[in-house]
Symmetry: C7
Subunit: 74 residues, 7 copies
Amino acid sequence: MEAMRPLDALNLARNKKVMIDLKNGKQILGTLKAFDIHINIVLDDAEEREAGEVKRKLGKVFIRGDTIILISPQ
Amino acid sequence: MEAMRPLDALNLARNKKVMIDLKNGKQILGTLKAFDIHINIVLDDAEEREAGEVKRKLGKVFIRGDTIILISPQ
Amino acid sequence: MEAMRPLDALNLARNKKVMIDLKNGKQILGTLKAFDIHINIVLDDAEEREAGEVKRKLGKVFIRGDTIILISPQ
Amino acid sequence: MEAMRPLDALNLARNKKVMIDLKNGKQILGTLKAFDIHINIVLDDAEEREAGEVKRKLGKVFIRGDTIILISPQ
Amino acid sequence: MEAMRPLDALNLARNKKVMIDLKNGKQILGTLKAFDIHINIVLDDAEEREAGEVKRKLGKVFIRGDTIILISPQ
Amino acid sequence: MEAMRPLDALNLARNKKVMIDLKNGKQILGTLKAFDIHINIVLDDAEEREAGEVKRKLGKVFIRGDTIILISPQ
Amino acid sequence: MEAMRPLDALNLARNKKVMIDLKNGKQILGTLKAFDIHINIVLDDAEEREAGEVKRKLGKVFIRGDTIILISPQ
């Protein structure tokens, strides 16, 4: 009855660009390389954005799951 | 004695439009595609709203369960 | 020795009107249809109230347990 | 070596008046009817107080444990 | 190699006066009667203090562990 | 492959001076006597500091792990 | 199907410089020596930064995982 699970959607986004909204109001854009059941995330070529502007080049970055609001494939 | 469980209600809303209120005061409207026991959610054709106005087109989006206040089928 | 458990009280409120206070200061009034051990709740005929006034008709709504302060049968 | 456990103290307060301080700064006074290991609580004849004044008659009320600071038998 | 565990220190403070700092900025002074692995605490002869002044006599009080910053035997 | 674990570092700091930063902005300096997997900590000869100044002599103190940001051996 | 896991990325950063963003807005720069599944971290030669400036030399430091937003290898 449970046709698709949320982590399946993340799996389809692997190696694709995703935008991540964080609880502190910032956004991280990058290529999704890895995730786990806690929604810990690793991105490549990541950059931090605030109000649409690039604030910081992060390159590879590990993001702790409990700081994430949403993940949107681009 | 426990006639229906909360996740049964989410299951009935699958493939239907739902409005999700987030703890940061924003709302996400979209088609419910997947959920799990943590209330992690995947929506299709999602858009973010604030005070009733569309703020952002999100398309497919993964929402972390612990950021959700309520989910209301439309 | 433990005569009654808190979830027994919720079970007695099933199909009855309840008022739910949320951590964000809002209240949801509706008919209790389902709950689980996380206190995730499903209401029918729900409406959101703020300072006693109806702010929004929600109809059926799923409320995530960790956003709830208290549930009061009406 | 562990002579008494905290839940034993709650058990002794069953059917007695207790004052509960909540994390949102409010207080609930009522008769303790049930509790569990999450400190979810059910009170009878409950009323909400703010700065010592009765703000709301609640009657029977279920309080989610993670919103509670302390419980003081009266 | 792990010579002493934190709960051993609480056990040595049983039946002694302790000062507890809460996350809401208040302090509770009382006699430690019980604790558990969640650091839920029961005090006897407790009083609430703010900025060094007694604000409220609490008598026996149950304090939920997740609201506690530190416990200092007096 | 996992050469050292974080708790090993705490174990090496046992009986040594450590500075602990708390989430409420305060610092506790003292001698590390005990810790557990929740990072609950017991210090001896502890004192609370704010902006570098000693605010309070605490002596022996139990600190609940979830209130800690970091622990730095001195 | 799950090619890489987030902790694998941390493992590759072992003994390398990493920048850690904390939930309180501060940053810690140091050499990653250890981590665990809670993302508790030990750094060597750590320093705290605020707005790009060094605020404090920390040397060896244990950081509790739940205070971390992201970890970026330098």
